[in-house]
């Protein structure tokens, strides 16, 4: 207990010592088998806090790669006539030169970039990087556990993710390029190796990578659910769990139930690709030749894909919602408004997410009468979502808000979620979808509501829990510049896209020069591209701030810098393996006692005073 030497035992330490319970964790020290040397401490670590950092940093590397890809295709969309020869040294053959020496981006490469951007951001960054990082970091710390239920499976979960990343990364360097048929991998482009350049080896590696990724999600998810249900400390009832934990818990359940369905779809796809069956293929001509695939249905694949695909968007957004709820409450110095309503709306969103998948397929030939069913349930999701938004705003209302980088990003999340959520109401209607499907309106909608919003939730989480992860603070001023620039920049990118979409500009197109009606948007496309470059530059600033602060940031001097009531801030500054040095704390109250009885905050480990009612109970 290095720090205890300098400052006398705090009130909280005494509480943990007296009220907590001894699980004999420190009795049998047969050398820390988890952290005995460099390899087991930092590489093949079984400590949830190290694994969280591994997920985060791997996710950040993928975010940079995925972001750079978007810049490449934005350059094509904003400046289709410009000379791209200067990219030749980096992109090589993917930049084609004409006789005059003017370079342009190869169309196949453009499609590959669009596909990879989607796959990488959705799965590697916003699933693994977001819920992988914060579920790992916060679940054991906030429920009062020494570690995950199975630290070994937890380690495997990260390394399967890592392996998935390696395979995907290799696919970027294939001579035929990575998969280029869209992140949804619809057949026939994904099922027939001869269908396009990326459909061969690129698609094979894409499939292998995604299967490894599914394994990673399942191992992680099983662990998260088990830990939340079985390893909570004494007194930590379900209704005393912070909303972060509720969100991670429900997210993990969604993953466990939906990713296997994707695996089934992939399994049949592998049969079609490798063994020549016709689950998803029917009467196709390639190069003038009829294939002998008969009787399959590509729509069947879409059903299987979107049965995962829709819960997947909530797998992305729910953890962000949990982080935002926590950050807003802490920095507004007020209890979260409507705690139970927040939990019920998480559960309602999770349930509804399983019965709305066909709204992604209104225009792919599903029965319009069946569409009605999906329209109704899709629109119903607006109800729990609106409950959450109302509660976030009500939490801020009248609060003594501290505008830190973390809380700014949390407020930004609410703004993004409202803007993006409202356009979801348009898209959820199958009739309006006739005009809007596959246009930039859709691109704008999901980028704002689950792309930018999820990133904002993630940034809020990183700024908030950075001290817990690295014992130092990130630079606040850079953080605020990062926030304001990204907020304005992100709206500048995606707001105009709504107008493009309403005019019918289709997404994924390489060039619009043959469509006269879309020519008028050339300037708008330039503007969007410039905004995208600006926003990307700000993320570079964030990355610099992040790595600089790991080693040079302002040191954390107190255990609980934000004055938060949750358990992770009762652990030592340099939290070792096992999280608490002595006893595990016992929990006596809900996590949102802010501004109660004249105190700024009351930690969850403080016993209720006589006659006091637990805040979560009413």
């Amino acid at each position: 207990m290095a720090h205890a030497a300098n400052n006398p035992m705090s009130e909280e330490d005494i509480l943990i010592k007296e009220q907590g319970y001894d699980d004999h964790f420190h009795d049998h020290h047969h050398g820390d088998k988890y952290q005995s040397n460099f390899i087991t401490t930092y590489v093949f670590s079984q400590d949830h806090k190290i694994i969280a950092r591994q997920f985060l940093i791997t996710g950040m590397i993928w975010a940079i790669i995925g972001g750079l890809m978007s810049l490449v295709f934005r350059l094509q969309l904003g400046f289709p006539e410009e000379n791209m020869a200067w990219l030749k040294p980096i992109l090589g053959r993917w930049i084609t030169l004409n006789e005059a020496g003017l370079g342009s981006i190869a169309p196949e490469f453009y499609y590959a970039m669009v596909t990879m951007h989607g796959t990488i951001i959705v799965f590697f960054v916003l699933t693994a990087g977001l819920s992988g990082t914060f579920s790992n970091l916060l679940i054991p710390l906030q429920v009062g556990a020494r570690d995950m239920a199975s630290p070994f499976l937890n380690m495997l979960s990260y390394w399967f993710f890592f392996l998935a990343g390696v395979v995907m990364f290799i696919s970027l360097f294939l001579s035929t390029g990575p998969f280029s048929g869209g992140w949804t991998a619809y057949p026939p482009l994904s099922a027939l190796p001869q269908a396009s350049t990326g459909s061969g080896a690129g698609m094979t590696l894409w499939l292998i990578s995604l299967v490894l990724f599914v394994v990673s999600v399942l191992l992680g998810g099983i662990n998260y659910v088990t830990t939340v249900l079985n390893l909570r400390t004494k007194g930590m009832t379900m209704w005393r769990m912070p909303l972060t934990i509720w969100a991670f818990f429900v997210t993990a359940i969604l993953g466990i139930l939906s990713f296997p369905v994707l695996a089934s779809g992939f399994f049949l796809l592998v049969f079609d690709r490798g063994l020549g069956t016709s689950f998803f293929l029917n009467e196709i001509y390639i190069g003038g030749q009829a294939l002998d695939h008969v009787g399959g249905s590509p729509v069947l694949y879409q059903h299987l894909f979107w049965f995962l695909g829709h819960p997947e968007v909530y797998i992305i957004i729910l953890p962000a919602m949990g982080l935002v709820s926590e950050v807003l409450s802490v920095h507004a110095r007020k209890p979260i408004f409507g705690y139970k309503a927040m939990v019920y709306s998480i559960l309602a969103i999770a349930f509804l997410s399983f019965i709305v998948w066909a709204h992604h397929m209104f225009m792919s030939g599903v029965n319009p009468f069946i569409s009605n069913f999906f329209v109704v349930f899709t629109l119903i999701i607006a109800v729990p979502s609106a409950v959450k938004v109302f509660n976030w705003i009500a939490t801020l209302y009248g609060g003594n808000v501290r505008f830190t980088a973390a809380s700014l990003f949390a407020i930004g999340f609410v703004s993004m979620f409202i803007s993006g959520g409202l356009t979801g109401i348009f898209l959820g209607n199958s009739a309006i979808d006739i005009q809007l499907h596959d246009t930039y309106f859709v691109v704008a909608h999901f980028h704002i509501v689950m792309g930018i919003a999820a990133f904002f939730g993630m940034f809020a989480g990183v700024y908030q829990w950075f001290p817990k992860m690295f014992g130092r603070f990130m630079n606040e001023s850079l953080g605020r510049i990062h926030f304001w620039g990204t907020l304005v920049g992100a709206y500048a990118i995606f707001w105009p896209m709504h107008y493009l979409g309403m005019a019918g500009v289709p997404r994924r197109y390489y060039k619009f020069d043959v469509f006269e009606s879309f020519g008028q948007f050339a300037t708008m496309n330039k503007f969007i591209t410039i905004a995208a470059i600006f926003v990307f530059a700000l993320q570079v600033l964030f990355v610099i701030n992040f790595f600089y602060s790991i080693w040079k940031g302002k040191k954390m001097t107190t255990k609980n810098p934000w004055g938060a009531s949750t358990l992770e801030w009762t652990t030592p500054i340099n939290t070792g393996h096992g999280n608490w040095e002595g006893n595990i704390p016992t929990v006596h109250r809900w996590p949102y006692d802010y501004g109660k009885d004249g105190k700024e905050f009351i930690s969850q480990i403080q016993p209720l005073s006589e006659g006091e009612k637990d805040g979560g109970d009413h």
Binding site: A149, L218, L231, P260, F279
Partner: protein, 193 residues
Amino acid sequence: MNAMAVNQEYKRNKIHPQKFATWLACASITMMFTALTSAYIVRQAGGNWLEFRLPGIFLASTMTIVASSIALHGSFLAYKKGKEQLYKMLLLLGLALGFAFVITQYQGWVALQNIGVPLKTNPSGDFVYAISGLHAAHVLGGIVALIIGAIRAFSMPFKVTERRKLRQEMTLTYWHFVDLLWVYLFALLTLYS
């Protein structure tokens, strides 16, 4: 294991975390086959569906896996009662029946080919190959667990401990699960062909 040490303090928990995790894994696998079931039914409703009788050998394989489940259950009960001989014998019997199941499944695929439904004939047949193949892969996972269990049973001195009981119970849970799963799949493929 440190995580174990944590759990022993939680007397209020009725179920062991690792046991619970096994159940979750089964739930996850169930979703996988639910998806295939719905794909099967939806595709069948789409027409162009070759009708054929599932070869009788699949009934034999069903009985084999049910028998293996019973044997392994008996083995676990014998272990708990401290009957070493019976425990080891039934464990080996269950393992052998597990192998026999995979072999009969393979023979089932050969039989399917012989009645004129090789792969690529029609989705109706392809589904049988795909679904039973994926199931067999999960059975193989169970067989690996059983082999490890058998090696431990014969290499370690016989002793009834909580830790070993837990391991066996988890393997048994998984085995019963793949057993029930096949019984269900067999019913589906028979009744819905």
